[in-house]
Protein backbone atom coordinates (compact mmCIF):
# COMPACT_ATOMS: atom_id res chain seq x y z
CA UNK A 1 0.00 0.00 0.00
CA UNK A 2 1.59 3.23 -1.16
CA UNK A 3 0.65 6.79 -0.28
CA UNK A 4 0.12 8.64 -3.49
CA UNK A 5 0.48 12.34 -4.14
CA UNK A 6 -1.05 14.72 -6.64
CA UNK A 7 0.60 17.39 -8.70
CA UNK A 8 -1.22 20.68 -9.02
CA UNK A 9 -3.12 19.92 -12.25
CA UNK A 10 -4.61 16.60 -11.15
CA UNK A 11 -5.49 18.04 -7.74
CA UNK A 12 -7.36 20.91 -9.42
CA UNK A 13 -9.06 18.57 -11.87
CA UNK A 14 -10.26 16.34 -9.03
CA UNK A 15 -11.45 19.34 -7.05
CA UNK A 16 -13.37 20.64 -10.05
CA UNK A 17 -15.07 17.28 -10.53
CA UNK A 18 -16.10 17.29 -6.90
CA UNK A 19 -17.63 20.73 -7.35
CA UNK A 20 -19.51 19.75 -10.47
CA UNK A 21 -20.71 16.61 -8.72
CA UNK A 22 -19.88 14.07 -11.41
CA UNK A 23 -20.03 11.16 -9.00
CA UNK A 24 -19.88 8.41 -11.60
CA UNK A 25 -16.62 9.70 -12.99
CA UNK A 26 -15.27 10.47 -9.52
CA UNK A 27 -16.02 6.93 -8.41
CA UNK A 28 -14.23 5.54 -11.44
CA UNK A 29 -11.23 7.79 -10.78
CA UNK A 30 -11.16 6.78 -7.14
CA UNK A 31 -11.23 3.14 -8.18
CA UNK A 32 -8.21 3.75 -10.42
CA UNK A 33 -6.43 5.57 -7.61
CA UNK A 34 -7.19 2.68 -5.25
CA UNK A 35 -5.51 0.34 -7.73
CA UNK A 36 -2.48 2.59 -7.87
CA UNK A 37 -2.38 2.89 -4.10
CA UNK A 38 -2.75 -0.85 -3.55
CA UNK A 39 -0.19 -2.04 -6.06
CA UNK A 40 1.73 0.53 -8.10
CA UNK A 41 3.85 -2.26 -9.53
CA UNK A 42 0.88 -4.24 -10.79
CA UNK A 43 -0.30 -4.54 -14.36
CA UNK A 44 -3.58 -2.81 -13.58
CA UNK A 45 -1.75 0.35 -12.53
CA UNK A 46 0.43 0.12 -15.64
CA UNK A 47 -2.13 -0.41 -18.33
CA UNK A 48 -0.40 2.12 -20.59
CA UNK A 49 3.25 2.95 -20.92
CA UNK A 50 4.32 6.46 -21.90
CA UNK A 51 8.02 5.86 -21.47
CA UNK A 52 10.38 7.60 -19.08
CA UNK A 53 8.78 5.76 -16.15
CA UNK A 54 5.35 7.20 -16.76
CA UNK A 55 2.31 4.96 -16.66
CA UNK A 56 -1.35 5.43 -17.42
CA UNK A 57 -4.59 4.08 -16.05
CA UNK A 58 -7.56 4.62 -18.37
CA UNK A 59 -10.74 5.61 -16.56
CA UNK A 60 -13.91 4.97 -18.43
CA UNK A 61 -17.54 5.53 -17.75
CA UNK A 62 -20.43 5.39 -20.14
CA UNK A 63 -19.92 9.03 -21.07
CA UNK A 64 -16.31 9.87 -20.27
CA UNK A 65 -12.86 8.61 -21.19
CA UNK A 66 -10.29 9.92 -18.77
CA UNK A 67 -6.72 9.07 -18.05
CA UNK A 68 -4.57 9.06 -14.93
CA UNK A 69 -0.86 9.46 -15.67
CA UNK A 70 1.52 8.76 -12.84
CA UNK A 71 5.16 8.05 -12.14
CA UNK A 72 7.34 7.27 -9.19
CA UNK A 73 9.27 10.06 -7.53
CA UNK A 74 11.50 8.09 -5.24
CA UNK A 75 9.16 5.67 -3.54
CA UNK A 76 6.11 7.86 -3.93
CA UNK A 77 3.72 7.37 -6.84
CA UNK A 78 2.84 10.85 -8.05
CA UNK A 79 -0.20 11.54 -10.20
CA UNK A 80 1.02 13.90 -12.93
CA UNK A 81 -2.06 14.23 -15.08
CA UNK A 82 -5.76 13.73 -14.60
CA UNK A 83 -8.05 14.59 -17.45
CA UNK A 84 -9.56 13.60 -20.75
CA UNK A 85 -7.86 10.65 -22.40
CA UNK A 86 -6.10 12.07 -25.45
CA UNK A 87 -6.08 8.61 -27.04
CA UNK A 88 -9.79 7.87 -26.62
Amino acid sequence: MASIEFDEQPALAYELLEKTGDLTLLDAIDAALDILEDDPGGAEARRRSFGDGRWGIPVRTRTDDWLVIWEHDGDVPVVRYLGADPFA
Partner: protein, 170 residues
Protein backbone atom coordinates in the same frame (compact mmCIF):
# COMPACT_ATOMS: atom_id res chain seq x y z
CA UNK B 1 -35.79 -22.78 -26.03
CA UNK B 2 -33.11 -20.29 -25.34
CA UNK B 3 -30.00 -20.29 -27.43
CA UNK B 4 -28.23 -18.36 -24.70
CA UNK B 5 -25.25 -16.21 -25.41
CA UNK B 6 -22.79 -19.05 -25.02
CA UNK B 7 -20.32 -17.28 -22.77
CA UNK B 8 -18.72 -19.60 -20.29
CA UNK B 9 -16.07 -18.79 -17.77
CA UNK B 10 -13.28 -21.27 -17.26
CA UNK B 11 -13.14 -23.03 -13.94
CA UNK B 12 -15.73 -20.87 -12.31
CA UNK B 13 -18.94 -22.53 -11.29
CA UNK B 14 -22.19 -20.63 -11.23
CA UNK B 15 -23.76 -20.12 -7.85
CA UNK B 16 -27.07 -18.42 -7.18
CA UNK B 17 -25.52 -16.59 -4.22
CA UNK B 18 -22.87 -15.14 -6.38
CA UNK B 19 -25.38 -13.85 -8.84
CA UNK B 20 -27.77 -12.55 -6.24
CA UNK B 21 -24.95 -10.44 -4.83
CA UNK B 22 -24.44 -8.87 -8.21
CA UNK B 23 -28.13 -8.59 -8.93
CA UNK B 24 -28.41 -6.02 -6.17
CA UNK B 25 -26.82 -3.47 -8.50
CA UNK B 26 -29.31 -0.78 -9.50
CA UNK B 27 -30.14 -1.80 -13.08
CA UNK B 28 -31.20 -5.27 -12.03
CA UNK B 29 -34.60 -5.46 -10.46
CA UNK B 30 -36.83 -8.46 -10.33
CA UNK B 31 -36.06 -12.12 -10.36
CA UNK B 32 -36.79 -13.80 -13.63
CA UNK B 33 -40.09 -15.68 -13.24
CA UNK B 34 -38.86 -18.67 -15.18
CA UNK B 35 -35.35 -18.90 -13.78
CA UNK B 36 -34.71 -18.22 -10.09
CA UNK B 37 -31.41 -16.51 -9.58
CA UNK B 38 -31.68 -14.56 -12.82
CA UNK B 39 -32.76 -10.98 -12.69
CA UNK B 40 -34.84 -8.93 -15.05
CA UNK B 41 -33.28 -5.70 -16.19
CA UNK B 42 -34.62 -2.24 -15.70
CA UNK B 43 -33.92 -1.23 -19.25
CA UNK B 44 -32.43 -4.08 -21.22
CA UNK B 45 -32.06 -3.66 -24.96
CA UNK B 46 -34.80 -5.61 -26.74
CA UNK B 47 -32.35 -7.96 -28.43
CA UNK B 48 -31.17 -9.40 -25.13
CA UNK B 49 -32.63 -12.54 -23.71
CA UNK B 50 -32.25 -14.70 -20.67
CA UNK B 51 -29.73 -17.49 -21.09
CA UNK B 52 -32.03 -20.09 -19.70
CA UNK B 53 -35.59 -19.12 -20.47
CA UNK B 54 -35.21 -16.73 -23.42
CA UNK B 55 -37.48 -14.22 -21.72
CA UNK B 56 -36.98 -11.01 -23.61
CA UNK B 57 -35.36 -8.20 -21.71
CA UNK B 58 -33.78 -10.39 -19.07
CA UNK B 59 -30.23 -9.75 -18.04
CA UNK B 60 -28.63 -12.54 -16.14
CA UNK B 61 -25.76 -14.75 -15.31
CA UNK B 62 -24.37 -17.48 -17.47
CA UNK B 63 -25.57 -20.86 -16.18
CA UNK B 64 -22.06 -22.28 -16.36
CA UNK B 65 -20.13 -19.42 -14.86
CA UNK B 66 -22.30 -16.91 -13.08
CA UNK B 67 -20.81 -14.26 -15.36
CA UNK B 68 -23.02 -11.22 -15.58
CA UNK B 69 -23.40 -10.24 -19.17
CA UNK B 70 -24.43 -7.37 -21.37
CA UNK B 71 -24.22 -3.66 -21.12
CA UNK B 72 -24.36 -0.86 -18.54
CA UNK B 73 -20.73 -1.64 -18.05
CA UNK B 74 -20.08 0.61 -15.12
CA UNK B 75 -22.70 -1.12 -13.02
CA UNK B 76 -23.26 -4.60 -14.40
CA UNK B 77 -19.67 -5.68 -14.85
CA UNK B 78 -18.31 -6.16 -11.35
CA UNK B 79 -14.66 -5.83 -10.58
CA UNK B 80 -14.58 -9.46 -9.57
CA UNK B 81 -15.14 -10.47 -13.18
CA UNK B 82 -12.77 -8.01 -14.74
CA UNK B 83 -9.93 -10.45 -15.27
CA UNK B 84 -12.05 -13.46 -16.05
CA UNK B 85 -11.55 -15.40 -19.24
CA UNK B 86 -14.72 -16.37 -21.00
CA UNK B 87 -15.51 -18.16 -24.20
CA UNK B 88 -18.16 -17.74 -26.85
CA UNK B 89 -18.82 -19.40 -30.20
CA UNK B 90 -18.13 -17.10 -33.13
CA UNK B 91 -21.70 -17.58 -34.28
CA UNK B 92 -22.91 -16.09 -31.00
CA UNK B 93 -20.29 -13.36 -31.00
CA UNK B 94 -21.79 -12.00 -34.22
CA UNK B 95 -24.94 -11.18 -32.33
CA UNK B 96 -23.19 -9.92 -29.19
CA UNK B 97 -20.16 -8.17 -30.58
CA UNK B 98 -20.87 -4.91 -28.77
CA UNK B 99 -21.13 -6.74 -25.46
CA UNK B 100 -17.96 -8.73 -26.08
CA UNK B 101 -16.03 -5.60 -26.98
CA UNK B 102 -17.52 -3.77 -24.01
CA UNK B 103 -16.46 -6.59 -21.74
CA UNK B 104 -12.89 -6.26 -23.00
CA UNK B 105 -12.83 -2.50 -23.03
CA UNK B 106 -14.65 -1.66 -19.83
CA UNK B 107 -14.14 -4.70 -17.65
CA UNK B 108 -10.73 -5.84 -18.89
CA UNK B 109 -12.15 -9.28 -19.65
CA UNK B 110 -10.92 -11.67 -22.29
CA UNK B 111 -13.33 -13.55 -24.50
CA UNK B 112 -12.10 -16.57 -26.43
CA UNK B 113 -14.05 -17.03 -29.65
CA UNK B 114 -14.49 -20.66 -30.57
CA UNK B 115 -15.10 -22.29 -33.93
CA UNK B 116 -16.76 -25.68 -33.63
CA UNK B 117 -15.60 -25.79 -30.03
CA UNK B 118 -11.93 -25.00 -30.72
CA UNK B 119 -10.36 -21.71 -29.67
CA UNK B 120 -10.01 -19.53 -32.76
CA UNK B 121 -9.40 -15.96 -31.60
CA UNK B 122 -9.47 -13.79 -28.50
CA UNK B 123 -11.13 -10.44 -27.97
CA UNK B 124 -9.08 -8.30 -25.61
CA UNK B 125 -8.80 -4.59 -24.94
CA UNK B 126 -6.46 -2.45 -26.99
CA UNK B 127 -4.42 -1.76 -23.86
CA UNK B 128 -3.97 -5.46 -23.24
CA UNK B 129 -3.03 -6.00 -26.89
CA UNK B 130 -0.49 -3.23 -26.64
CA UNK B 131 0.93 -4.72 -23.48
CA UNK B 132 1.18 -8.20 -24.98
CA UNK B 133 2.81 -6.89 -28.14
CA UNK B 134 5.34 -5.03 -26.07
CA UNK B 135 4.60 -1.99 -28.17
CA UNK B 136 6.60 1.19 -28.10
CA UNK B 137 5.47 3.63 -25.42
CA UNK B 138 2.69 5.94 -26.52
CA UNK B 139 3.66 9.52 -27.33
CA UNK B 140 1.73 11.97 -25.23
CA UNK B 141 0.38 15.14 -26.83
CA UNK B 142 2.56 18.23 -26.17
CA UNK B 143 -0.05 19.84 -23.91
CA UNK B 144 -0.08 16.79 -21.64
CA UNK B 145 3.73 16.65 -21.67
CA UNK B 146 3.73 20.30 -20.62
CA UNK B 147 1.43 19.57 -17.68
CA UNK B 148 3.66 16.71 -16.56
CA UNK B 149 6.82 18.82 -16.86
CA UNK B 150 5.19 21.61 -14.89
CA UNK B 151 4.42 19.16 -12.10
CA UNK B 152 7.93 17.73 -12.14
CA UNK B 153 9.43 21.18 -11.73
CA UNK B 154 7.22 22.13 -8.80
CA UNK B 155 7.26 19.32 -6.25
CA UNK B 156 6.46 21.87 -3.54
CA UNK B 157 2.96 22.22 -5.00
CA UNK B 158 2.20 18.54 -4.51
CA UNK B 159 -0.67 17.48 -2.30
CA UNK B 160 -1.70 14.20 -0.75
CA UNK B 161 -4.38 12.26 -2.59
CA UNK B 162 -7.69 14.04 -2.09
CA UNK B 163 -10.24 12.01 -0.16
CA UNK B 164 -13.95 12.41 -0.49
CA UNK B 165 -15.97 12.12 2.67
CA UNK B 166 -18.42 9.81 1.00
CA UNK B 167 -18.11 7.70 -2.09
CA UNK B 168 -21.20 6.52 -3.85
CA UNK B 169 -19.73 3.07 -4.36
CA UNK B 170 -16.90 0.90 -3.23
Amino acid sequence: MSRGCGIRTHGDACTPQRFSRWSSTPPLRDECPAQPGYATAAASPPSLSCHSCATSGVRGADPFSGAVLYNSYDTVYPKAMSDATAEMPISEAREHLAEVVGRARYAGGETILTHYGSPAAVVISFEEYQRLKGSEPLRLPPEVEAIIEEGRHHPERRKPRPRRESRSQG
